[in-house]
Symmetry: C3
Subunit: 360 residues, 3 copies
């Protein structure tokens, strides 16, 4: 989708100089940019790259001399990565889904779909489902009976929205994301009297005969506005009440949220985060990749956990965590430093013992 | 699906009092319950919640005074969470899949499907597949050639059952679950003579030129009765023999079982558990979230591993494990306690050294 | 697919003896083999198994006496597991996808598909996509607009190839594999002046009001020849440039590669590996199951990381890593040994302190 330099600068609320009518069709790294591209060179370190590439226009650092860089036009990035966010939104063609509803879909006549929908082939929408305006739904997505989705939704390939799930506006479900799977909840029947008599060999014996009886999830999932859920991620329903995700929370690929989990607003849950059942997570929490959270605990507001952290107990608001089991990040670093020196420390102690024994 | 209090009590083999003809349509937490709901208040701590909500009927703790709680009818939970399991099964409407076979399916004429099937749109079933009675198969599921599935199966959206996979009765495949992917098994061709001569700089040099040749999986997967597999989980085929999962084993979301894995009966494998190739797991084993198991080892009966445990060597029956690498849970706790004090211990030793040196 | 012993031996470049016209239809473990199977017994330890089974032909270890083992024919494995690789390729029937294009597909008229294609039902192929010769595409796969895929591709059930993704020859996408999801990249707008004034209580306060603005991924994914991607794994697009995977790299199930990641040639990324954004991985790197790699670091050529390793900083070429945080494998083993003895060491130090205090 080509734009003039003028229009891009206007959209970004940025200054521009040179030939403002020049059209660019895509963005590129400076060295790889062709004559139709807008090179992204928001730092002087990219100047060499511009010389190697063929860009005629670039987004440049403040104060750059675009003429000396051999350009015909330049936009000056007002706020670094935030400008990049706005520019990326403008230049993203998005998935190609033809306007209207593809004939090879199965949409229940009682479902309601807002104006401006683009629904691809092989999509299913169940009875009583309600989808807001401007929905874009890619091939193989399924939206089950009674689900409610707000305006401007983007439901990508093979994503699955379960029965009675309720979702706000501007929702994005990446391919294979599954909202509303059944919770993983089982009980063992009580140990029978006959069995109890036989059990005298210790605690573990008690669980010998164990058969799992399923607790079905009767709750659903409710999700706020401006949420996105990554590729093949899954959010399970609640047992009685709904599993919940607050406004503005972003969820990456292959994330698991168990039944009854409550996630607050504006959190970032990075790839492969696993949150066990009935955990309560506050607002603005950031969990890095492969973090795990044990069931039935709480994570306070503004907690940040580094990659691979396993949080096994409650985390107070504002805590910065790392490690398995999770401890405060500074303590973790200190512990690991000491652990690396531990083999040497053990030798020192052994020598001390000898010295003291000899002296004694 | 509304039920009378009488019918629910009868199904749960529970006592009931009050207006036994009262109808309830859903379950709810006490404070959130409306007049059509059955409030779940199996512990006196929920009494306040009942007062806030509008329930006319509730499932109550033994001995509760339902009249004083303002209710018209009550069921007395005989066995806590087990009653909840039975109740949840009764109240779960399940996925809406119309009886019969949807016309927009592709089912091979040589496939056989038992009585009572409900098969949704965009399902594919391959040649020679055999599916038992009362199967419910949701949109976008695929069942490949020669697969055999028992009675009362529930195959949810986009689940994929591979060729020649054999599964028992009452199987549940959650959305995106994939049974029978190819195992991840590769070999490197032997190092050539010329290369061998060049290799004199150490062990790592030997693997310089490494190209992976694929070992195709010729085995399949066989799964017992009463097994369920969670959202987007995957169970790979065996190389020669089948990968196996025993009766009654429950598998959560995003779990991976590699080729040739053998899992016993009545195990629980929680979300994001990863089991590498050729592992043998006994009966009643419980692996909590994000546990990993190295290839070619065994996990004895009744082993329990806490969240995030990485099991790198054989685990004898009955062992309770935690940590990375996995150790007995009590040892892990002791080790972590000592590790937190390690920086201080190092200081103590340094001071001791000084004292002893001065004394000596 | 039955073969004569002669043909199998020829294909494997192996010696064979006995009735070379005997037909075998499948491979089996020695004890489980029937009369139509080729038993695999490449080590003398399998001799007993052969006696239990009913095989008439077997692949045997060099020098085995096939007549004494009661067989009618034998193939002698020249190179162990490499022979197994070739044999498995020969005996694998592969997925049953009928030749030609199934009528229940939605293929854009501007897409081009090479000769010899077999495309199953409910597949979608977008505008301008180009697919090479002999493609086999299973049900529910989707290939988006502008994607380019080489010859001999195998795209399995529900796999999703995103817009403008470029892939080489002999690509395998296992079920649910998703190439070209959007990267997980967000920025927070600058803190406003009014808010800045309010912020005086410490570093963490600064991030109080945090709202995530999306950076769309404008790059794509480019993948070399002979790559395979496992069940439900995902590779995200790059922000500006492409995310890249080199020739011959094999990726297992439930793996995540973040935006801008660069993976070299002939790597093995085992199940549940997670690689955060902008990581650069060299050639012949092996990451075992559940390994995690922090964003923006590099992993040199020939690095090997054991199961569950969390790599938080750059790893030089040839390094063998284990643990969280990752350290050299030998150091990790030494550290863990010392850690197990740490509780005892702490007691020793306490006693030493007493002795020294008494002596002093």
């Amino acid at each position: 989708m080509p734009h003039t330099i003028r229009n891009i600068a206007k959209a970004l609320n940025a200054e521009a100089e040179g030939n403002l009518d020049l059209m660019v069709g895509a963005t590129a790294e400076p060295a790889a940019a062709g004559p139709e591209d807008l090179a992204l060179a928001v730092d002087p370190k990219y100047a060499d790259g511009l010389a190697q590439g063929a860009a005629r226009a670039a987004m440049l650092w403040q104060g750059a001399d675009w003429r000396a860089l051999g350009l015909e036009a330049a936009i000056f990035a007002p706020r670094g990565r935030l400008s990049m966010a706005h520019l990326s939104r403008m230049m993203d063609p998005g998935p190609a889904i033809a306007p209207g509803i593809h004939p090879m879909t199965v949409i229940d006549p009682t479902a309601t779909i807002g104006d401006g929908a683009a629904i691809g082939p092989f999509v299913t929408i169940g009875a009583g489902a309600r989808i807001g305006a401007n929905a874009r739904i890619a091939p193989h997505a399924s939206i089950a009976e009674g689900a409610v989705i707000g305006d401007d939704a983007l439901i990508l390939n093979g994503a699955r929205i379960g029965a009675r799930v309720v979702i706000g506006d501007r929702f994005i479900a990446h391919p294979g994301a599954t909202i509303g799977g059944d919770g993983f909840s089982f009980v063992t029947p009580e140990v029978s009297g006959v069995e109890e008599i036989r059990h005298t060999l210790g605690l573990r014996e008690e669980i010998r005969k164990q058969e799992w009886v399923r607790i079905h999830s009767l709750g659903s999932v409710s999700i706020g506005d401006d949420v996105e859920v990554g590729v093949n991620s899954c959010i399970d329903r609640g047992t009685i009440r709904d599993t919940k995700v607050g406004n503005g929370t972003k969820i990456d690929n292959l994330v698991h949220l168990g039944h009854n989990v409550q996630v607050g607003r504006d959190c970032l849950l990075c790839a492969m985060v696993g949150v066990a059942g009935s955990v309560k997570i506050g607002d603005r929490v950031v969990l890095a990749g492969q973090v795990g959270v044990s069931d039935n605990i709480f994570i306070g507001d503004d907690v940040i956990a580094g990659g691979g952290t396993k949080i096994l107990s409650n985390a107070p608001a504002g805590r910065v965590l790392l490690g398995y089991p999770a401890v405060k990040m500074d303590l973790h670093i200190e512990m690991q430093k000491a652990l690396r020196r531990l083999p040497r420390l053990a030798k020192t102690v052994a020598e001390l013992q000898k010295t003291v024994a000899k002296d004694g």
